[in-house]
Amino acid sequence: MKNRVSYYILFIAVCIVSSCTTTNISKYYSKHKPVLYSIEEVYKSEYNKQKFSLLFTDKSYNHLSLELLTDSIRYIYDFETTENRLNDTLEKYHLNISAMRSLISNMQLLRCKWIDNLDYYVDDKKNYLLYLSIYKQTFRLPFIEPKYYVLTYFSQPQYYDSEGRLLDHRSRRRLRKINNEIFYRVNDKVCYTVSTLFR
């Protein structure tokens, strides 16, 4: 009886500790840098051919939603990753099938849920950033929403305050928010946040 109680206590303690554990994003970033770099490069090169975003729609990362943006209309297709018709669609939109397949498998590997190119404005001028949401793998208590690491890749070095928070502008001390979230420095061009919203 005493043993059983101690097991329960141990189990609860493990749950609490693991739910409070936070992975250091800098360590995570350095550990997965080659894969993240590959995702970034492939996405950017394919995006230049055809604007698109990718979303994994299930927990097993086997179903994806491909959003293709043409000049007049946005098409949203749902696929299973093993389906052949995915290749047909990629080919139709002049995307490189092997590059896209490697992007998809790398996203599955990191449990990256969503990738997109977002527009943002500085001094009324349009800029783009790459937006990547990665499922945060920690113990999840029931009724608690899942969290995501959101990484943003800028094309130019950004400005940060002393606490490493992303600033809107060099001359202004206003924090820049993306999807209503404050972002923190990973390096000059890459920022992160932890959010319950992946897009």
């Binding site: 946005r74 098409y75 949203i76 404005y121 009324d124 209503n180 919203l197």
Partner: protein, 306 residues
Amino acid sequence: MKFSFSYWLKQFVQLLFYIYIGYPLYAFINIDTTQTSTREQAIAFIDKISALQPSDHWPHIKPALFLQNLKENIHQPLLLYEGTNTNFCGYAALSYLFMHDDPLGYAKLMLQLYTDGKAKIRNVVFQPSQPIKDVAGSLHFKGALDIRPVEQMWFLCLADHFKGYLNFFNTHYDPGDEDKLWASVNYGKFNRMAKRLFNYRVNAVGSDLMRPYIHDMYEYLVNSMKQGITVLYLNNTILRKKYDRIKANIPSHYVILLDVQQVNDDLVNITYWDYGFRTMRQLTPSFLNKIIFGISQCTIKRANEK
């Protein structure tokens, strides 16, 4: 004597006067039709304006950017943008109706709001409060809405003027309220705005919490589109695969239905407008039933139609 025969005779004659002369005269003066205009008229009107003076009422709106935005909206109405993570989708859908059927009225109303700080459309008088005037033109981190002062001004004015039960606990604007319940639009409020502002005949089915029971959704949508512009009130959490426990079972998004086609028994193609873009996606009929909470068919009223 107050109730003598002559008194009642006089009342009767007055009644006959109202019935046969007064009401027809009133109806003739106030012809109950939806105001419409063509895009060509709006383009001809807006292209004559080469510059605007800064407005004392809207300190953060840049005149050149305002005019450019207004011209863009007239020439390319589909570009109208509600902003990322705002609750302006209801107002954007409403503006689509306005710009589709009365672009000239839209252009004039926006210019009137800009120059006078207030404007009137039908019996609705927009007199935005000072916090609205102070913030319009300075909303930021909302995507393309950052550089679209016309949308900022118009959506903020609409949210400031029209209130529904969702706005009950937050009726006055504070910075950041564009993302909160202050700006939200419940289904009844949307239909009321469409009727009061533009005098549409609105045929609506659905509600904020329960899906409408429609036996054949595809047929219903096709027939609805034949009558007029169809606005769908959707569960965006399911549609866009967002994860939100609170919003998982309720509608939160308005889109304009542009086309619906049956591919086969298992798939339907729908094309809709939102976020400044047309989107086409393939859905199963059961999924379509699951996401639709409201269908508003907005039809232009012809002369004296009730």
